[in-house]
Symmetry: C6
Subunit: 286 residues, 6 copies
């Protein structure tokens, strides 16, 4: 279920508040700001609860305080159902997505960024960076694959650089990046050390979702695969971090914009990045 | 089945004793003290047995001695059914839970302790430390995860420090802590040595409870995983032990309070800890 | 099926012999001594066979020789069915059980010995040492576990010390002791070298009896588990042997008493042990 | 579904354009050039869309610009369905197939090339080099097998030499070449180091497509298999690359001819290769 | 199906020959000598064929030559069905069984030899040495187990010593001996190097005959098990060979007697062994 | 389906040609020579096609040229169905089978060669060397087993010696030879290094064809098995090659005779071998 963003929520609140007599201090934008993650039904619920709260007070108009009362009650329930992010989570997700987007901007052969958002859409996905494939290619060069992996790692790199601590949020990104590198090394002949042989294959039913990677090689070769995957993942992660380190200003301004506006178009990201001062340093060694 | 605590048991005994003529020496609080782990039905049974004992003596009133007679008979049966803890077990569980609670108190980012109890609630769980999550977050930083593991290890650390011998009681804690550290090292990119690759995955049906961890790496890497998990578990255990070593006085007073009152609120634990003298030593080396 | 001991068998023989005219030389206690392992039906059978033997002789009274004749016939059949132990087996079982009992006596924290017996009760169990749990505890300290293992190993140690040769009889004891030590090392955090991690888990259905230990670690760690289990099993076995070596006299007298009386109470074992001379040697080095 | 080539598409366009009044600037060959990958129905669609575009303009005749308009609309839809290759993909596939064909030409014992094509025929196969078996032999010499593998590797070698970057396009070729070399080393007694023993066997049902290679040897031998397969695959790949490096001119002209004409007969390939200047260099060392 | 021995076959031939007029040169014992492995029906067949052969000759009496004719025809058929041993096989089986018997004689604690035979009884068992268990014991000492293994290995040792070449005939003996030694080392605490731990267990259904040995230890320990089993099997085999080397004369005479008489009682073996000269050499070094 | 040899085919052609008017130049033996691998129906087909060809020419008699025309048409179809060997394949199969036969001749204890043939009988078997077991033995000495393996390897050795290149044709021979050597080393106590223990066993259902070899030993021992099997297979292969190297003349003449006559009796092979000059060289070092 897609959830509305800030402007969307304000509009929904206005619709539901129309029949309700409001005190002059009511500011629905302010209410909207405090309802990230809420769906239309939740917002309708807040207007109702505010009206009830006013009625309980015996007041003829619903005040901003009634709305805050209502907010507390409704949010408590939603928080219990695990739908709403904490402030720390929103901040982390904002930097994480900004990281993906800025690394993508740095590579001419990356798929262009269409949209970045920190509005949770589905259980499990707290933010998203949408890239539009440049074309419908079915063949990818080694360079295009490593660009993709670097973009994927940009989220975690941004968390580490800006928040100084890593989190469980990069879990899926790491799984995806590892899978792509293993495929490059074991099936696409793109290993630096292991040469051309096909070393794994996929078995099981993709239909039933029970596929596994089957090893077609010895323990010793498996160890070399591990080493190369680890080494190259580190290299690509370092590349992502260096890119973001040189673009610290851009990272801050894109993340802050996401926190304020929740969703940015690819163009908006590019403009914010262009406006931010680039670091005038020699490329960092790390 | 939840079992009543000391005050609860006294109240239940009073209810059942109402129709029974009691001798002046009867002190139901004393009886309650000797019935930890008993459910309402067991307590009703004790009052009955005491009444029968008095009748057998031909006495017009039921004396405290009748109650003790009844206690012996009823407890023997319960002990046979494995419901009641021995005195040594209660003592050990008290220190174990006090350990969890005091380590949690030591970390600002730990979930606050709500309640600590040594009343056995279900088969297998002889005590419990209840922490209320600060919020419903779904993303955890590396620091938050290590805090959780340290709190988990606090129980065993308290047993070792105060009772000088470890026991089978930390069995589940060790399983949980090991699982969290393995996940950090193999799936969350939080390894110190193994870099970012995803090294295991969960397979099987969580519905049927038949999940296993599937290794996606070579024996050699598996060895490195083992080493890092072992090393970091040792570090976090040592951290828990150092915390408790500096708070020996608090550990004693919380454990003693648990033995006396069976259940403490988080606030009571904090007050006891604050009242206890902190050790004025330089941080211990172990 | 429980089988009667010496006194039990004499009583049964007397019951069955009541209607039979016995010669003055008949000594049913002597007959009972030669019927270890026999059930009531077997003893009735012996009286019948003896009566038939006397009838065949044309004698008016059944003599002791008739009983011995009957014994031979009946025992041959039973021996064929594998119910009766050979003299060597009885001797070995007596020393084995005496070993368990005396090692248990040596540890204050061992569960008290209630009964020791060399009367085979079920197929496969040729003797037994019954210990009564001191209480119904569910938590065990490391010391209590090692005591249990040492008591288990006492049987084999006694065989080796007194009969100078080991046998297949300790088969089940070794399996039990190994299993306990593996659990201590891999799941209870009681390893000396491997730290706290949980290294194995039980999978499969206990209901169907198809559980296996699943390894959660690398080959290298598995090797270290093997080494530690081997080393500690050796240490505990040596401890059991040292205890029995210092109590040679007790071992002899308890074993001899078992051969004579078949069943001893824990108290009788303790008295025999107390009466036996302790070796006045410095503790042996082995 | 077979798709028409350049001449085929021009003919189809002419058929569909017959009832349509065309402006003098219309050049259907030019339209055909811009429709690689399209089936008959797609081409009919283009003529329709062009007629509609002209009608929308209120023109009496359909101009070339109307056709280009139609092309854009139709191609966008097809591109979304993933049927059409990008320009980069066509170029890569042309060099890849030219590589297969020229390496095959270089070996007298290779099966003769009948046809080379970059018309995608089925999902997944973006190009093809068709070789006609010289005869229906069932026995192959070691030399014939290595020739086959070298031809298979020629596609990737051409990509690397001419496009300077490798791609995912050689995925299937690598699987096939690895499989053949493993079979030579482990089942055909053609290993250089491992001697004659049969080291693997195929298990499972070929009917259900569930066959796997089962190892009949130790880890150590498996490592040696890996090494030999890797080493020889590298050698054969280098051989393919050396052949193509000496025939750079031929590679360029065959690839360009494929891009222009989409399909070449084996004879045409041979003529283009003969016409191209051979490099007058000493054999390269790589 | 039990097959008759020499005397048995002679008796059967006589029964079937009663109604047949025999020439004076007929010697049925000689015929019996040439029919090892034949069952009653085969012998009846020979008498019939001989009678037919005589009839074909038009003779009034059946001669020895007719019997030899019949023998050839019948044996050809039986040989085709694989029922009859070749002369080389009989010789080898004779030495093999003599080896078992003489090694058993050399150990006071071996089960006494009741019978030795080279009459094939069932498919697969070409000879047998029957030992009667001294008693129905269920506990075996380490010495008793090694004696059993040495007796089992005596068959192959005899083949090697006397026939100078080993054969496939010891196949089952080796499997049995290996299994016993593995059990001693891995489950009976009788290892010299691996200590007391239980290292394997039997899994699977004995009912369905699908049991396997499951390893409860690391690869490293498995290697040590292999080494100890190999070493001790070699020692016990050498012991068997030394015993037989010192009793070469006995081996020859028992084997020859088996070839002549096919079945020997344990007593006969003992007498032959006693009558044979013992080698007056110092114990051989091998 | 058995296919006729040269003489058989000539006879079949004559039968079918009887009703056909033949020109004087027709030589059916020559036709038969060009139809190896054809069944009766194919030969009938050739006569029909030749008659049709003559009719098409308007000739009154069918000429040899008509037969050659017919041959081309029929063979093309058969070649497409993969029934006919190419000339190179026939040559290779002839040397391969000659190799088996000559190595068998060199060993007195090999089963005598009855027939050698290069007429393909079933799909997959392009030639055969039939040996008649000397007798129906069930016990084999080590020497007899190694002789068998050497004979099996003789086919590949002949290919290598005479055709200078090995092929896929020895695939099955290598599987069989490896299997026999593994059994000698792991189950028959015939290893040079690994002693007597049984190291593998066969599991699975022979009925369902799903048997596998199960390893009962450690990786380390598995490596030693691999090494010994490899080493001994090399030795036996070298032995086969040395035998054939000394009998080059015989190899040539037997292979040539097979190409000419397709099938040879064991006696014919022996005569050809005897007539060929033996090399007067010192035994070759290889």
């Amino acid at each position: 279920m897609d959830r509305p963003d800030l402007q969307g929520r304000k509009a929904i609140l206005e619709v539901h508040a129309r029949p309700v007599p409001l005190a002059p201090d009511v500011d629905l934008l302010q209410v909207a700001r405090r309802t990230p993650g809420m769906a239309g039904a939740d917002l309708a619920n807040i207007v109702n609860e505010a009206a009830l709260s006013g009625a309980r007070r015996g007041a003829s108009r619903v005040s901003q305080a009634d709305f805050f009362d209502a907010l507390d009650r409704v949010q408590l329930g939603l928080r219990r159902r695990g739908v709403i992010m904490t402030a720390a989570e929103r901040r982390r997700v904002a930097y994480h997505e900004a990281g993906h987007a800025l690394v993508a901007l740095a590579f001419p052969d990356a798929d262009p960024v269409e949209r970045v958002s920190i509005v949770a859409r589905t259980i499990g996905a707290l933010g998203m960076t949408v890239q539009v494939p440049r074309d419908d290619r079915r063949i990818f060069t080694e360079g295009e694959l490593t660009t993709r992996i670097t973009v994927i790692l940009g989220g975690r790199a941004a968390e580490e650089l800006s928040l100084r601590e890593i989190s469980t949020g990069a879990h899926d990104d790491l799984g995806k990046a590892t899978g792509m590198l293993r495929e490059m090394v074991t099936r696409l002949g793109m290993s630096r050390k292991l040469g051309l042989p096909t070393l794994t294959r996929t078995v099981g039913s993709p239909l039933l979702g029970t596929t596994t990677e089957e090893r077609l090689c010895s323990e010793d070769t498996a160890r070399e695969i591990d080493e190369e995957v680890r080494e190259r993942l580190t290299e690509l992660y370092d590349a992502a971090r260096r890119i973001l380190d040189r673009r610290r200003g851009a990272l801050e301004s894109v993340a802050e914009a996401l926190l304020a506006r929740e969703t940015l178009s690819g163009e908006e990201v590019a403009q914010l990045a262009a406006a931010a001062p680039a670091r005038e340093l020699a490329p960092s060694a790390a």
